[in-house]
Symmetry: none
Subunit: 241 residues, 2 copies
């Protein structure tokens, strides 16, 4: 029932990082110090520190010590990740600001994106996600009300649209397009960036049970965000095309 010792040690260290008590660069307790403090063997302390290092939270230097790692702002391209959690994982403060929330008539272009035969009404949402008060993502999203009727009733200060959609509709298929753009004046204002800063635009469509559920454009200021992915290929290695 009770968690393994190495897990307790990991959690102890993670709490200090998440709370901000141990900032990047801070030296964390050495293996021997953990042995004393928790009355555990060195192998157990070693496992805790080694796994946190593999997870990217710490970096170790033989003969010197173990330190809290600087965590770059990166997001996985392979997964639908909840930006609120991602920011919280970095120990930073997340906040959401809703800018628009309407029901709109689909334009022909939108109807095509939603694979609709006849134009219909769509939920429309514009919000800005901030990390420590700095805008890092502008989200512009249309949602098919037939797929997720309750979508517009949610409090998106409490649950992000992505999290809500994941929880309520199984994602069967995903489409992503990434491009570099120069933001429009309106986008610049919402993200609070200068005139010459390019942005990354991530366009996402997701399907559930054969129907397009949502079409979203996520705009990231170049100076504040990069998309990241890392993965191991299968041993059989059918990676190349």
């Amino acid at each position: 029932m009770t968690a393994p010792l190495y897990a307790k040690v990991k959690e102890h260290i993670l709490e200090h990082i998440r709370s901000g008590a141990w900032t990047p660069g801070t030296r964390v307790p050495s293996e021997n110090e953990l042995v004393e403090h928790f009355s555990i063997s060195r192998m157990t302390a070693n496992r805790a520190l080694r796994e946190l290092t593999a997870d990217g939270f710490l970096s170790r230097v033989p003969g010197v010590g173990t330190f809290v790692k600087e965590r770059p702002a990166r997001s996985s391209l392979l997964e639908l990740r909840n930006i609120a959690e991602e920011i919280a994982q970095r120990g930073h403060v997340y906040a959401a600001h809703i800018k628009k929330r309407q029901t709109v008539e689909a334009t022909p272009a939108l109807a095509e994106q939603f694979e609709m035969k006849h134009p219909a009404r769509l939920f429309y949402l514009v919000m800005v996600h901030t990390e420590n008060g700095v805008p890092v993502q502008l989200e512009e999203r249309h949602v098919n009300p037939f797929a997720v009727p309750q979508f517009n009733d949610q409090d998106f200060a409490k649950i992000t649209p992505t999290a809500y959609l994941i929880a309520h509709q199984p994602v069967d298929e995903l489409e992503h397009t990434v491009e570099a753009i120069m933001p429009t004046a309106e986008q610049r204002a919402l993200l609070d960036i200068g005139e010459d800063e390019p942005c990354l635009a991530l366009h996402r469509r997701s399907w559930s049970r054969g129907h397009v559920v949502t079409v979203a454009t996520l705009v990231y200021p170049a100076s504040r965000y990069a998309l990241y992915s890392r993965y191991k290929t299968s041993p059989s290695g059918t990676l190349s095309q």
Copy 2:
């Protein structure tokens, strides 16, 4: 100099998986069997199996055994695609222009990217890929000569660096970072674009057998290229996190 015992055990198991001798579902040797076979302690065998499990190669069932994992349906925005084939598929004319081809001393930053303990010499290549005569990709690449000694002898007008590397080194792991940038004057000149055009920069590192083989930056003019992916999720659907 010689590799740690747990690493040797991992490599031993990975070779059987890579070669196809142990297919998904196959039971791998138990900890006690590895203890006998390699004359190691159980903790060392345990570490090897535990790390391979964390890496996604194995799955363990207490009281039953350890098994080769089914390859997860893994698709990516960023598969390794051969740009020459991609352009040919569109029925357009592909051409490559080599701009630089040198052997350079690794800077400290590069040595770190290559996970080298001591700086060493690297192959360095800069080339421009064109579609119907228009530059669409600027490729700046460093290659670890220990991993691919013949790399610099190739004729990259006939085979792209990506295609050559795929053919000669199994890619075990890939890391991608995508960001929006304003190109430098040199990049602008090579890509023949105007002053105000942002670009997409795709940074790629690839590993083979635990070593970094190559570090590449691919720069795409925003007006001429976007990254695209579409895929179905696996039936088990562990997509969201």
